[in-house]
């Protein structure tokens, strides 16, 4: 019997729903919070209690630490789960939660901080014997020193902000001539974003594979890893498809990386679930990238191959329980894949799509899991991440899992907003993906090939449209503050690098 009784979930959408379910299975009371635009959202419906915390913009609600902690206290909660994104990697919030005598479902503020400052994390990892990409860091270095260091590291080189992550302040430099401007730009961007202009250099591995190791540690000194997830299918550093096992890893690499991840976690006295991200080269080298000190979006693939419920485990560990299994008890069974469904228009520069979801039908079928925070008649707003659902499948091997995912995506009906489902389907059919050889630049390099043609309109679809109209299909209520009559697909808009929180 878990000793925790009542949890405030400081999040929204699919991850809030996921955490509420875990609470219920542990016989805990789940307390939701919601912004103005979420009052009827799925996570609010499923929760045992729900409290309004402010206006729709995140900094007025889901990022408002004070209101969140006051709500948790007033509701009589004994713990707070942050989910991912929002305040999940905010050490000050974790500390404030603990100061309010609430249990934080996550690692200590110190561990969050240690991993949050990228240069500090690099140094810690080096000390712990975890391989780190060659790089250069020096707080008071002048330009000449950077130039020399870059030569030593070899081009391309990455200029990164020391004080924070999420893609902010990152610049890739291919030749010495571009370095000075890149350093200046990165410094000013880092200053603005993190109030800390320090930058550092790192070797940039162009054709690397993004492989991360899930770790869990309890408060009794036990740390285990739950194997890897490969997340190389990315568009502009945004993960799209994740899987476990990685098609790249040998048993030997898996063990070595798993041990490195455990060492990384132990170096910061890590407790609870976390993820150590590595970049692996085609030659089989691998290097520490960063550690995500929270639950990941893609945690379900690990749950499906290990049979371990990570969110329930987070609660148990936070309640002081020991891990009920050791490293040797864990196995990777079969193969799991996750596809992220975004409300975005791939053919229009991946601009987020808004609108009201008129229909949302997901298959209930063997080993197909759909985690979503939306339902029919929900409006996709401008305020939050456009990821509206995750589809996760499991089967005996990668080929079977791919077939299952292809069918799952074909069966999902989401009408009323544009999604990336056809983009996902095209990637799944690409020979390089099928062969398990996608690296982190594959999607960006092959965008033209991967963008499906607009499907020919079958006569049957046109007939269905007419049938619906003839039948007098009523329009679902469209609650919208926008004027649809001016929308246009031609536009002078350019989209800057996106900065969805590093997921």
């Amino acid at each position: 019997m878990i000793t925790l009784k009542k949890c405030l979930i400081a999040n929204r959408g699919e991850i809030a729903v996921r955490i509420i379910r875990a609470c219920h299975e542990l016989d805990m009371i789940a307390v939701a919070v919601y912004s103005e635009s979420d009052s009827n959202a799925k996570h609010v419906q499923l929760a045992d209690e729900a409290y309004y915390i402010g206006a729709a913009p995140p900094h007025q609600s889901y990022l408002d630490s004070e209101t969140l902690i006051r709500t948790a206290t007033q509701a009589g909660c004994d713990c707070v789960h942050p989910g991912y994104g929002f305040l999940s990697e905010n050490a000050d919030f974790a500390q404030a939660v603990m100061d309010a005598n609430l249990i934080w479902i996550g690692p200590s503020p110190d561990a969050i901080r240690a991993m949050g400052v990228k240069t500090e994390a690099r140094a810690l990892m080096q000390k712990a014997g975890v391989p780190v990409v060659s790089g250069f860091q020096s707080d008071n270095a002048v330009l000449d020193e950077f130039v020399t260091a870059a030569e030593h590291i070899g081009y391309p080189v990455m200029v990164k902000a020391a004080g924070g992550g999420g893609g902010k302040g990152i610049r890739v430099v291919y030749k010495p001539a571009d370095l000075p401007e890149a350093i200046q730009g990165a410094q000013s961007e880092a200053q603005k974003a993190f109030n800390d202009s320090r930058i550092f250099l790192e070797r940039y591995i162009e054709d690397g594979r993004h492989i991360e190791i899930q770790v869990v540690a309890d408060t009794h000194g036990n740390t285990v890893h739950l194997f890897e997830r490969e997340c190389s299918t990315q568009r502009r550093h945004q993960k799209i498809i994740e899987e476990s096992p990685s098609p790249l890893l040998t048993a030997q690499m898996r063990q070595t990386m798993g041990n490195a991840a455990i060492a990384a976690a132990q170096a910061v006295n890590y407790v609870n679930a976390g993820t150590v991200e590595f970049i692996a080269t085609p030659e089989g080298e691998f290097f520490f990238l960063e550690m995500n000190t929270r639950l990941q979006v893609e945690h379900p693939v690990t749950e499906m191959v290990t049979g371990i419920d990570l969110v329930k485990l987070q609660f148990r560990v936070a309640a002081g329980e020991s891990l009920s299994f050791s490293q040797d008890d864990l196995t990777q069974n079969g193969h799991a894949i996750e596809c992220r469904i975004y409300a975005e228009d791939a053919r229009n520069n991946f601009l987020p799509a808004i609108g009201t979801v008129q229909q949302f039908i997901v298959p209930q079928a063997p080993s197909i899991r759909v985690d979503s925070g939306i339902q029919a008649s929900d409006m996709i707003t401008i305020h939050y991440d456009p990821m509206i659902a995750k589809v996760i499948v499991h089967d005996a091997n990668r080929e079977a899992a791919l077939q299952r995912m292809t069918r799952a995506l074909a069966e999902i009906v989401i009408l009323g907003t544009t999604t990336n489902i056809d983009f996902l389907q095209t990637i799944l059919q690409n020979p390089v993906f099928v062969a398990g050889q996608v690296d982190t630049k594959f999607v960006d390099d092959n965008l033209q090939t991967l963008l499906p043609d607009v499907a020919q309109l079958p006569h049957a679809a046109l007939i269905a449209a007419a049938l619906a109209k003839m039948d007098g299909q009523t329009q679902a209520q469209v609650v919208s503050n926008s004027d649809h009559s001016n929308a246009d697909i031609y536009s002078p808009w350019q989209r800057s690098d996106n900065f969805r929180v590093g997921e």
Partner: protein
């Protein structure tokens, strides 16, 4: 009854007529189809078109009729809406917001001259920055928003007059 939509830039039309025998006849261009259909739970249609079976899901809003068929979503825009729309920018020469968002940076002032591609202002929407840049060389004739403003889709943002 004739139904017309715009799909992928082209106008598509279908004529659907109830027949005496309870079936329907659909006409698309030169093609004729005999159609029977039953509605199933959740907005679905089980159709028999010239004896072939199709399962479709449909929904509509003020903009479009949506159809899901064989794993693909089709958005058929309502012709009456398409007619009302401008192209690129609004009739007045204003740049308009393509989606709702918040203005987080304004980089120009009224009267300043700009070159094609210059960033005029930056919006934030759905956790992304969206830069609005000049579609052509010109001067900033009218700046209609300021930093912090929340703008609706279709709202005029800035007017660039041609040189």
């Amino acid at each position: 009854m004739q139904y017309s939509y715009e799909y992928n830039g082209e106008t598509v039309s279908v004529k659907l007529e109830r027949q005496a025998d309870g079936q329907m006849k659909a006409t698309i261009g030169d093609s004729e189809y005999s159609v029977t259909a039953s509605q199933i739970a959740g907005g679905g249609w089980l159709m028999h078109i010239n004896s072939k079976r199709f399962l479709a899901h449909t929904a509509s809003d003020s903009e479009a009729q949506y159809v899901h068929l064989n794993g693909t979503q089709f958005k058929l825009e309502k012709v009456e809406n398409r007619r009302r729309r401008g192209k690129g920018s609004s009739r007045s020469g204003d740049l308009i917001a393509e989606m709702p968002g918040q203005v987080i940076d304004v980089r120009v002032k009224e009267g300043r001259s700009v070159q094609s591609g210059d960033v005029l202002l930056v919006l934030e929407a759905m956790k992304m920055e969206i830069r609005i840049s000049a579609p052509h060389d010109g001067t900033v004739a009218k700046l209609r928003v300021k930093t912090g403003d929340v703008v609706a889709r279709g709202q005029a943002l800035v007017k660039i007059s041609q040189m």
